[in-house]
């Protein structure tokens, strides 16, 4: 029998990356500045987290020129959506297990 925590996805169970996917799962897409504002992280930090998610195929990043300025749009992929749902369900299961007296 495997421990429930082994089902956690190392790529997304980090707090900021989970937040990125949570925002994107509610929307069609969000831009870099918006994510930075909501998640309260520095541009460099956010870039690193986005790169990890992009490498794992959880998000898609598109750069565009709009109104004479550069904008970076981020979209969650189907894989990212599924990974987020699994991660949240796993964490709930973990917490339920702790609540019902199982060792974490």
């Amino acid at each position: 029998m495997t421990h429930p925590s082994s089902a956690l996805d190392d790529t997304i169970h980090q707090r900021v990356r989970l937040g990125i996917l949570a925002v994107l799962s509610e929307s069609r897409r969000a831009d870099f500045g918006y994510l930075q504002d909501v998640l309260e992280v520095t541009a460099g930090n956010l870039s690193q987290h986005l790169a990890i998610l992009e490498d794992a195929g959880h998000v898609q990043i598109t750069k565009a020129f709009e109104d004479k300025r550069s904008r970076t749009w981020v979209t969650v992929t189907r894989k990212g959506r599924a990974a987020l749902a699994t991660e949240v369900a796993t964490m709930h299961a973990l917490l339920d297990g702790i609540g019902s007296g199982q060792r974490p």
Binding site: S5, L8, H13, R15, L18, G19, I20, L21, A22, V23, S25, E26, S27, R28, R29, A30, D31, G33, Y34, D37, V38, L39, L84, V88, M91, H92, L94, L95, I98, P104
Partner: protein
């Protein structure tokens, strides 16, 4: 990962979700249009071939398009985009269903259905919007419309009385929605 970390991560992701919903969803424009179309659908059921009815058949979809354009432009400038398709689908579906409900009521000579049909359909439309916006306020409007439907059927109200009741409810609803959105911008769950 220990329990505290799991709780903290879940709380943070929930905060992020709510923030995104808040920033995307300000349903007042959709509400105003949905309510207007619903009220208009009442007149459509009484005079389907009148110039007024034909006018609204075209204006309804155009209004839905205006909502889509508004949502698209506003979201684009704020940095988070939602899909306006849900609003368009609800608005168009509401118009068609309300119109159909009224017509069926008259076609089968059950004028009661023509009187409560549009209110019932509008309630369903608001309920769908409430689900999209995760808003208790919009859900309450939906239940109020459902209650009106029950009153119309239960008390066998006349066409005039049922129209007055639904119009009155729409008026109060729009005032309440407008006021609450001005006072507190976050009616989302």
């Amino acid at each position: 990962m220990n329990a505290d970390e799991a709780r903290e991560s879940l709380a943070f992701s929930e905060y992020a979700r709510k923030r995104a919903r808040d920033d995307m969803g300000r349903p007042w424009l959709a509400l105003v249009l949905l309510a207007s179309l619903s009220v208009v659908s009442l007149s459509l059921t009484d005079a389907a071939t009148s110039p007024t009815a034909l006018f609204w058949v075209f204006v309804g979809p155009l209004g839905a398009g205006a909502i889509a354009l508004y949502a698209y432009r506003r979201n684009r400038s704020s940095g988070i985009e939602s899909s306006p398709l849900a609003y368009v689908a609800i608005t168009l579906g509401l118009l068609i269903l309300a119109y159909t409900a009224g017509k069926i009521g008259f076609a089968f000579q059950v004028p009661a259905a023509a009187r409560f049909g549009p209110a019932f359909v509008a309630a369903a439309g608001y309920f769908a919007l409430a689900w999209i916006e995760r808003s208790w306020m919009v859900a309450t409007i939906s239940f109020a419309l459902l209650a009106v439907t029950v009153v119309i059927i239960g008390f066998d109200l006349s066409s005039q009385q049922s129209k007055a009741l639904v119009f009155g409810l729409y008026g109060i609803t729009l005032l309440a929605v407008g006021f609450s959105l001005r006072v507190a911008r976050k009616p989302v769950l």
